[in-house]
């Protein structure tokens, strides 16, 4: 190298680091839009009750035969069975213990779903409040779930992820009094971090508050569109 005369040059590429993921996410989004499918990316910590919540939202929807679920976080067969009792098409992504789903994993999972008549797709992300933040999957909306047992300060601890939500669900509200959940602090934290999100307080287990959430999630979906 000593013989070579080197010249330095500065480049200013301003290239997004997740350009590849963003491109595939955009292709997913175009696919969903062309088929008229509403897609909800569900995010939370592990154990906040995502699977039960998705199952209960779908049980409450009259047109649930028009729904499918992709899940990257199925801990037990019970969960899978519970979802399969509600919807016929449940695709599990084998992520091992990966910290997030990416757009390519979704693109591959889409091949396993028969989309004729499908209008609503839930994507149950991996239980994690950090890593999935920047990984667009091509979803229509993001739903972040917080359970009362996790504490009221989760939103301000994870502002990045909460800030990407259009829907925030406070789950397990039947347990609030036992864990001394500070509701006002939680709501203030959500309003700060996710100012444009619609907030729901529910217990997926008892069904309390679920009707409003079901209406909100499925409200704009026209089952007859083909």
């Amino acid at each position: 190298m000593s013989d070579t005369k080197n010249t330095g040059r500065t480049l200013k590429p301003h290239s997004p680091l997740l350009a590849k993921n963003d491109l595939i996410a955009q292709q997913n989004r175009q696919f969903f839009e062309s088929k008229g499918i509403h897609v909800i990316n569900v995010l939370s910590s592990p154990g906040s009750g995502k699977t039960t919540l998705i199952g209960k939202i779908l049980s409450g929807w009259r047109d649930r035969h028009r729904a499918a679920v992709i899940t990257g976080d199925l801990a037990t067969e019970n969960d899978a069975d519970r979802l399969k009792q509600v919807v016929s098409q449940v695709v599990q992504i084998n992520t091992g213990t990966a910290c997030h789903l990416d757009a390519r994993m979704i693109a591959e999972a889409l091949e396993k779903i028969d989309f004729s008549g499908i209008r609503l797709l839930f994507i149950e992300n991996v239980g994690n409040l950090v890593c999935p933040t920047m990984f667009d999957l091509g979803e229509t909306r993001r739903m972040v779930v917080l359970s009362v047992t996790e504490g009221e300060d989760k939103p301000v601890k994870y502002p990045g992820l909460f800030g990407t939500a259009q829907i925030v669900v406070i789950n397990k509200k039947d347990l609030a009094e036992y864990v001394e959940f500070d509701r006002d602090t939680a709501l203030e934290g959500i309003r700060k971090t996710a100012p444009n999100a619609t907030i729901f307080e529910v217990s997926a287990k008892t069904g309390s508050g679920m009707n409003a959430l079901v209406t909100h999630v499925t409200g704009g979906i026209d089952p007859e569109r083909s």
Binding site: R9, L11, P16, L18, G96, T97, C99, V130, G160
Partner: protein, 152 residues
């Protein structure tokens, strides 16, 4: 959450992957999927592509913008990159991380607002008290600048 030791473990495993594969060992998913490693791989790939397009033979400096809301831990990204760059034309490249604090735009009065500390959040515009605020900065994840060496 991501920790530097986990990335370290991953990179050690990655280097020895062939050996591990021969031995038929598995269960590496956890470290293999740390998102900073994915991002560092994308960074290296993107930087090398720009270098080649511009007739360079090596990279001496890389600057990335990392927004505070992006969920990327700068130390983990730095560490992953420092290991991945080995034996590539970016081997001697210094990685500079430009950490960006969030910035909000008020729909009420059009002012741009920056919180005092990066962990502070704003819920109301200090100028007009409007609550219609949008994040305009904080989710960046870009290769913003780099220096390459060319032969003349």
């Amino acid at each position: 959450m991501t920790s530097v030791p986990a990335v370290q473990r991953f990179l050690h495993i990655r280097k020895n992957r062939n050996t591990l594969n021969r031995k038929g060992r598995g269960g590496l998913h956890e470290v293999e999927n740390m998102h900073e490693v994915t991002i560092a791989e994308n960074l290296l790939e993107t930087a090398l592509a720009h270098m080649r397009e511009n007739g360079g033979h090596s990279i001496t400096r890389i600057r990335v913008d990392v927004g505070h809301l992006s969920g990327v831990v700068p130390e983990a990204l730095e560490f992953a990159f420092s290991c991945l760059k080995e034996q590539t034309p970016a081997e001697t490249a210094d990685l500079e991380i430009n950490a960006l604090v969030p910035e909000y735009l008020c729909a009420g009065c059009g002012q741009t607002i920056q919180p005092a500390g990066q962990d502070e959040m704003i819920v109301e515009c200090p100028f007009c008290e409007s609550r219609h605020l949008t994040v305009v900065k904080g989710y960046e994840l870009n290769l913003s600048e780099m220096e390459i060496e060319t032969d003349e």
